[in-house]
Symmetry: C2
Subunit: 428 residues, 2 copies
């Protein structure tokens, strides 16, 4: 079962938490072939790969009738849940919208920063057992709020040649513009280069299997991507006030995702460590995904015992977890010390699942320690900025010698000349 | 010389503006070897490559004495220019600083977004003829304003084993924390994995030659990078009010960078097209970098004549230029139609060189059409966000059934269980 480690200052992070990595190298070649094929042959290649990997299709396009019918088939309770979740996600992400700014300086100078939405975005939604409508909401809604003109959703069809009702219903609620039945590396290639049916987009977001991840990494530069997600993770910081049953349940909610998922408890309390361990054993038995969760805990689960909460925070900042729960007496008293984490859940009544589905903040979060430099998916991912500079002639005249000096020091004489010429011979 | 094209609605963008691309493939293997070597052998590999490519070094570290001496050697006029430019850059980038936000909902719910600086950033500054102190200011200042704790600058040493005075002076003015004499792919590897002397950072920014660009692309994921820059570009939209001498000078200021640089004029006026062409010929003769500029104009320069300004804007939005000048009667009247551009220069008195050196906005801009999804380098590049979620027990109780419903629809029972368990047996 889960390993327990007593932390001391000489403990190297690699020892207490060796991270799993997805392995990409082997499938590199295959993915590159698919991308080149789609780039060269468009729709024809898409139909071929669809038949090869998923199902023989008549059309790549999901019609608006298919979407409406799927929406009508969703039961009322779940429809209400989807609408409520979408409402919360919308409300939170609207707070992320940024304004242009303009500053006015001396002599009529105006400087600014203008926000524009990315015009077209592609969103990948996995099919099969990992087909999650929550992912549709979390990806489409920020794009919609950013003002993306065309949101293209792609997802592999099932054996009947259709996409799950819940995915289509969530896409309708979130506001996707067009939906295509295509998955895998071939769908990433289609979104990156465009085909007869599928428009080229400028950014691709959304999780996927290893082929999708590899394809996204390959097309990065041609289009932008959100991130290449690694295994999902939770780290719980607990003091003696934590509730062992809750902590164990939250660790298991991560462990059930897949065998590479990581659940880590860092606690100052030997008693909590022991009780959580016992609870894990007890609760595991009740889980439909028992085998997956068990293997995940065995391989990547850790209970780390520290002397102080500050040590626990230090470890957490080093690990930079995707999800961080602060199950301590006064969680707000340590919030300001958290440097690196995707999403932070405070107190005993804020389970990770609340954030995965419902609270409003995004559940697409930086994994594998990338919270040291990456952020949750947000409206920012679907906009880009332009700088704006306006100088009057009198403003330019006052600084012209400085610019000319700088340009000549860098040996860029045409740069200097472009300023100088504006003051020769009375040019306006 | 520069090609002139008459635009009509059926003209494909590829015909009017075929973009140059840097070629990476050949050097892929070499760069990978260097990265693996530095990862395995640390400083030893750095000294080896330094001797191989640059100069035999006694120490990788630039001492604080070296920095002070370099600063003292800078002439007073240039020192003042550097300080004035740094002041403007600082002032503009301070406007980009964002605040945390917290929202308070029903039943004590708090949701928020917290900004933290990236803790360590590495900045690459090229050596040799492309050694630009302006680049130091443009990269270090946003990192400093973001609150990066440790800003590490790397730059290849010259044959005397030192870094140019102007680079060191700019680094001091901008506030770099440590400076190392190392360049090329080996310096990117050192920043990504750390060596005995050089600390591992979480993000690397700054321009570089093809080896540096390739290395940045390879380490992306292990650390974050700013972008892989392509050739530099300017697009000028001009109506009959433009001043041909100014437009030609601005096109040349781009063309002098290198042979792949691209200068494009889109104009509604045949007369302006003709006059700019003549001016280019005339002004070229005066340039020290005449050969480079001439070849750049011949290969990648274009004059495109359109019927209307709206057509010109449409072409510009398709090209998504790094630098865009609006040399038209009322530039603000078309600013709102510009969707894709790195930096926008308005009117006849705002030459690109003003922005390259002095105005304040960043000169590190998206190239190769990536302005469709990327932004100028900014304070945003040196921060990351964390979401914060706090629910009270009463708040969770009201939504628990919805979360349980959602989780069970997705087949994630441990997620459902983690909510349910909080309301069993009176757990606090």
């Amino acid at each position: 079962m889960i390993k327990t480690i007593r932390y001391n200052k000489n403990t190297a992070l690699d020892e207490i938490f060796p991270r799993s990595q997805f392995e990409y190298e082997d499938i590199n070649k295959k993915v590159r072939e698919i991308i080149e094929d789609v780039k060269a042959n468009g729709d024809k290649a898409l139909y071929k790969y669809s038949e090869m990997f998923d199902v023989k299709l008549e059309s790549l396009t999901v019609s608006s009738e298919e979407i409406e019918e799927a929406y009508d088939r969703i039961d009322e309770e779940f429809k209400e849940v989807l609408l409520a979740a979408a409402g919360n996600i919308r409300k939170f992400h609207e707070k992320q919208v940024r304004n242009n700014f303009f500053t006015n300086g001396k002599d009529g100078v105006l400087l600014g920063q203008i926000i524009n939405p990315i015009e077209k975005a592609g969103i990948y939604i996995p099919g099969g057992t990992a087909s999650y409508p929550s992912t549709v909401l979390m990806n489409v809604i920020p794009a919609k709020i950013a003002g993306v003109e065309e949101i293209i959703l792609v997802s592999p069809p099932n054996k009947e040649g259709s996409i799950e009702d819940s995915i289509l219903a969530a896409a309708k609620i979130a506001g996707a513009d067009r939906i295509f039945k295509i998955g895998g590396a071939q769908s990433i290639a289609a979104l990156s280069y465009g085909t007869e049916t599928i428009p080229k987009v400028y950014k691709i977001t959304g999780p996927g299997n290893i082929y999708v991840a590899m394809a996204k990494k390959m097309v990065y530069g041609e289009v932008d991507i959100d991130m290449v997600a690694g295994p999902s993770e939770i780290l719980v910081i607990a003091d003696e006030n934590a509730v062992p049953e809750n902590v164990a349940a939250d660790l298991l909610s991560q462990a059930e995702h897949d065998r590479l998922a990581a659940s880590v408890l860092v606690t100052t309390s030997e008693e909590i460590a022991e009780k959580v361990k016992n609870e894990l054993v007890k609760q595991l038995e009740r889980l439909p995904r028992e085998e997956t969760a068990k293997e995940s805990l065995k391989n990547n689960g850790r209970i780390i015992i520290t002397e102080t909460i500050d040590e626990a925070v230090k470890i957490s900042n080093e690990i930079a977890p995707e999800h961080l729960e602060l199950c301590v007496n006064d969680p707000f008293s340590i919030l300001g010390k958290i440097k690196n984490a995707g999403s932070i859940f405070l107190g005993n009544n804020t389970p990770e699942a609340l954030g995965d589905y419902f609270a409003g903040p995004n559940h697409t979060l930086p994994t594998s320690g990338t919270a040291k430099f990456s952020s949750p998916l947000s409206v920012d991912d679907f906009i880009k900025k332009s700088s704006v500079i306006y100088y009057t002639k009198e403003a330019l005249e006052k600084v012209k010698d400085k610019i000319i000096c700088f340009a000549e020091k860098e040996g860029l004489n045409a740069h200097a000349e472009s300023v100088r010429i504006r003051f020769e011979g009375g040019k306006k």
